[in-house]
């Protein structure tokens, strides 16, 4: 695909173009950063309230013990999927367009998974009493965590994913940090010198680096597919109607990649404009990202349909009751927002003109993210709210505390992402050079 890209630049322009972000940023950068900090303060206030007053400030109540905070957890883990998909799976498939977007997608993954990791702790309230089972160590009664539980598997899955994604991201950045070091003077040169580990770019270093990168990609590929499968088992391994279904792992993975790709687009478009990278992150690359979003949207659409079919065809009245409640009952609003945002609006991308219209694609990408949040909310709340004791049935509403903590998570994520955009290479310069025309002498 990107063989057809008409480059107006050569590899000599790459470092100057990409590292423009290290100079004075556009005023909109400070505006975005200020907003992120306000959101973080809102989140911190609500977390403080929860620690002081208890989990009652969230909307959780019997029988909805997993409310908005677990929705946020699944949402952020899902966002984290696109980064490693783009950097590992597309690397193995030799999809050249990923070389322009992989760095920011990986950064997004790392910060999204860190954000996600906070939510199980926030969800527990005073987590130092509740999270003792997370490290693989026995308690004082010599009682171990139950490794037959999907919750214990999830701890392994998320921490492995965070570690491997972080290593992949940082390892990819080492040669670029050396490029920054070689442009800097004084203290900044020293700092980037330490961060780049003293990389020199010798042929032998590149040889081992490429081998290591390939192995890491090969290890990360099944990992991407496993993480959201394991998150889905948090639900599917229970006997709860609406959760206990074998379609969950592929359905969750496709949904995660959908939300992740939409988030990559949502972040990339403003970053590309803010740091003037239009010559490097080309319209063809943005279009490829949209095509991946459209593909996963189609898979998710199919999964929604099959899920309903299976619920009806199973003849299980409890299962069908949950699905009826989702589509035409008290949770119909959330359900139809999810269907329209994740399945119907993305259909516009079948038109090439619409895929290349940045304003339209940006708007639809934001809608996909809204839809994916509603999907998780819909799955979690509508299955739990009516349990096997009709006396405890009711209607679940998110509380102000839930909303404050969710807003805080967006601020926290943006805070770190914006710091990354300011001090690190947003596009992988060494990999971008690989997809540009090779510097060959005239005799060829």
């Amino acid at each position: 695909m990107s063989d057809e890209v008409k480059w107006n630049r050569t590899i000599s322009d790459v470092n100057d173009g990409i590292l423009a972000n290290l100079g004075k940023p556009h005023p909109s950068y400070y505006l975005a950063w200020g907003m992120a900090i306000i959101f973080v303060i809102i989140g911190a206030y609500n977390w403080g309230q929860e620690l002081a007053l208890g989990v009652g400030i969230t909307g959780k109540t019997s029988p909805v013990y997993w409310g908005v905070l677990i929705t946020d957890f699944v949402f952020w883990v899902g966002i984290g999927h696109a980064g490693t998909l783009i950097s590992a799976i597309l690397f193995l498939f030799r999809a050249k367009w990923r070389n322009t977007v992989n760095r920011s997608a990986e950064a997004m993954t790392v910060f999204a998974v860190i954000t996600a990791g906070l939510f199980p702790l926030i969800h527990m309230g005073r987590f130092w009493f509740g999270a003792y089972w997370i490290p693989p160590l026995p308690n004082t009664n010599n009682l171990w965590a139950n490794y037959r539980s999907p919750l214990a598997w999830d701890v392994f899955a998320i921490s492995t994913y965070l570690t491997v994604s972080l290593l992949f991201w940082y390892m990819g950045m080492v040669p670029d940090l050396a490029s920054i070091r070689d442009r800097m003077k004084g203290l900044r040169r020293g700092i980037y010198g330490v961060l780049s580990f003293g990389w020199r770019g010798t042929a032998k270093q590149w040889h081992h680096y490429e081998a290591g990168y390939g192995f890491l990609a090969a290890l990360a590929t099944p990992l991407v597919l496993s993480v959201h499968s394991i998150v889905s088992w948090d639900f599917a391994m229970s006997l709860q109607p609406g959760w206990h279904t074998t379609i969950f792992p592929p359905y969750f993975v496709a949904g995660a990649i959908l939300s992740g790709c939409a988030m990559v687009y949502t972040l990339l478009v403003p970053v590309r404009t803010m740091f003037r990278m239009e010559e490097f992150i080309r319209p063809e690359h943005l279009e490829a990202c949209i095509k991946l979003t459209l593909l996963t949207s189609s898979i998710v659409f199919y999964a929604y349909a099959i899920e309903f079919f299976v619920a009806w065809y199973s003849g299980n009245t409890y299962e069908w009751a949950v699905f009826e409640k989702r589509a035409i009952g008290g949770y119909a609003f959330y359900f139809w927002v999810m269907v329209f945002c994740n399945c119907i609006f993305p259909l516009i991308w079948w038109s090439k003109r619409m895929r290349n219209n940045v304003a339209v694609s940006m708007f639809v990408s934001v809608l996909v993210n809204v839809g994916m949040w509603f999907e998780r909310y819909n799955i979690i709340v509508s299955s739990l709210v009516e349990d096997f004791l009709p006396g405890s049935w009711g209607h679940f509403q998110p509380s102000l505390g839930d909303i404050g903590l969710s807003i805080g998570s967006f601020g926290w994520f943006m805070f770190w992402f914006l710091i990354f955009c300011r001090y690190f290479p947003i596009v992988s310069m060494s990999e971008l050079k690989l997809i540009m025309p090779k510097p060959l002498s005239k005799k060829h």
Partner: protein, 172 residues
């Protein structure tokens, strides 16, 4: 440790560099040369002719250790604190549940060891490395040949491939 002096030859084009690398191959008077490039072109890797990287053994060792640790953890916990499920006797280990632990730790340990392998083989971290020319991380290619003089035969050979610049590096 004293770092040797020598000559540094700088090229603008990739094919000039690879032609020079092929000409140097197997010659004892170019011993311990170093080749620099801004990114990992496969042409350079072919001209280097170094064989498969040893990083793979680190990855394999890490991955196998991870698999054993994952299954071992699950089985040890089952042994140390048996949970009797469905009336089955303790000692009937539910191995399928531990596939998840085995899988995740295979990836985790394999990934960590891959990074370690890469660091060891690339001889980094070493923030005091000698940076011979800052343009090698930008857009230039280069060859450093230690312990030879700028007016020697080696310099003349490397220059004929279209070197943009050639200079003497002092030992330090």
């Amino acid at each position: 440790m004293k770092r040797p002096g020598g000559i540094l030859v700088i090229y603008k084009y990739l094919d000039q560099l690879t032609d020079a690398m092929v000409a140097m191959r197997g010659r004892s008077d170019f011993k311990d040369n170093e080749v620099f490039s801004p990114t990992s072109y496969h042409e350079i890797e072919e001209a280097l002719d170094a064989g498969p990287s040893q990083v793979r053994w680190f990855t394999l060792a890490g991955a196998l250790t991870g698999t054993l640790t994952g299954f071992g953890l699950g089985l040890w916990v089952d042994y140390d604190w048996p949970q009797v499920v469905g009336g089955k006797l303790p000692g009937l280990y539910s191995v399928p549940a531990y596939v998840i632990l085995g899988f995740e730790l295979t990836i985790l340990f394999g990934g960590l060891m891959t990074i370690l392998g890469m660091l060891v083989m690339c001889r980094i971290p070493n923030p005091k490395q000698r940076i011979l020319d800052v343009r090698f991380t930008d857009d230039k290619f280069g060859i450093f040949v230690p312990n030879v003089a700028i007016d020697g035969e080696q310099a003349r050979l490397l220059q004929q491939f279209g070197a943009e610049e050639i200079r003497q590096i002092e030992s330090e």
